[in-house]
Symmetry: C2
Subunit: 147 residues, 2 copies
C-alpha cells in the first residue's frame, strides 16, 4: 500500500485571520479579541483539538463493525493545557505547545463496559491524529521563498 | 501567567461526518467517497495540517514587529505523509500517524534572506501547534461514559 501525501495551504489574511485550504475545503482561523484578533474563527490550537476529536470519531465509526460494537453514538470532549509563557518567552521557560491533552469519550452502544473499554483502547492505538500528537513527527522547513 | 485550558467537543454524525465545536465555532470533518465518506468536509489529518499552517501564520503576524520584520504577506504550504497500513493493520506494521511533515514558507517582506531565515526559525521555535506535533504530548483518556 502506497504512502499517501496530504496537503494544505494556509494564507495570512488581515490581522490574525488565516484561511487554510485542503482540497475543496477551507477553514478560517483567528484569535479572540483579548489576544488581538477579531474572533472570526477558532484558534489553531483549538483546531488541533478538533482534528483530534474528529479523528477519534471517524476511527470509531470505521472500526465499530470489525470490533463487534453496534455503535449508536460517539462523542469526544477534548481538553488541553497551554502555558502562554512558552509562546511569549520561549522553550527555555516552558514548552509553547500543549502540556497535556485529556479525552472524555462517550460511547452509545449496547455492549458491556469491558468491551467498550477495549474498543476505546483499540481506537487510541489506530487513530492517525492521536498517534501523531502522542509520538511526535519531524517537521522540516524545506524552502523559504521571499517575495 | 496561568495555564490556559482549551476545549473542544466532537460528535459523530451520519456516516463518517463529524461536527467539532470550540467556543462559538464549528468545523465539519468527513472522509472522501473512496474511503466511504460523503466528502462533506476535510479529513481530520488534513485538519491537523491546517491547524499547523494557521498557527505558523498567526505566530508570524504576532512576532513580526518584535523581530523587526515589516511583514507584507505570509503563507505556508504543508505536506504530510501517511501510510494507510498503520491505520488498517496497527503499529506493529507501521505508524498510523504522519511519517513526516514538510513546510514550504513564503514570506513577503522587505528584508534580506538571512533575516527572513532567522525570522522563520524563530517562528518554528515558538509556534504552539508545531511544538506540540514535533515533540508530542501525552493524551490521557480520563473517562469512558457508556450510554
Amino acid at each position: 500500500m502506497a504512502i499517501h501525501t496530504f496537503k494544505a495551504e494556509s494564507i495570512l489574511k488581515e490581522g490574525m485571520a488565516v484561511e487554510s485550504t485542503s482540497r475543496d475545503f477551507t477553514i478560517r482561523a483567528d484569535e479572540p479579541k483579548n489576544i488581538g484578533g477579531k474572533n472570526t474563527g477558532m484558534s489553531p490550537v483549538e483546531m488541533l483539538l478538533c482534528a483530534l476529536g474528529s479523528c477519534e470519531c471517524i476511527a470509531a465509526r470505521l472500526f465499530a463493525v470489525s470490533q463487534g460494537i453496534d455503535l449508536k453514538g460517539f462523542r469526544v470532549s477534548v481538553e488541553g493545557d497551554i502555558n502562554p509563557e512558552g509562546f511569549l518567552k520561549g522553550q527555555e521557560v516552558t514548552r509553547p505547545g500543549f502540556q497535556g491533552i485529556r479525552l472524555k469519550i462517550s460511547v452509545e452502544a449496547n455492549a458491556p463496559k469491558d468491551r467498550i473499554d477495549e474498543f476505546v483502547a483499540f481506537i487510541q492505538s489506530r487513530c492517525p491524529v492521536a498517534e501523531t500528537i502522542m509520538n511526535g513527527v519531524t517537521i522540516e522547513v524545506t524552502q523559504n521563498v521571499i517575495s
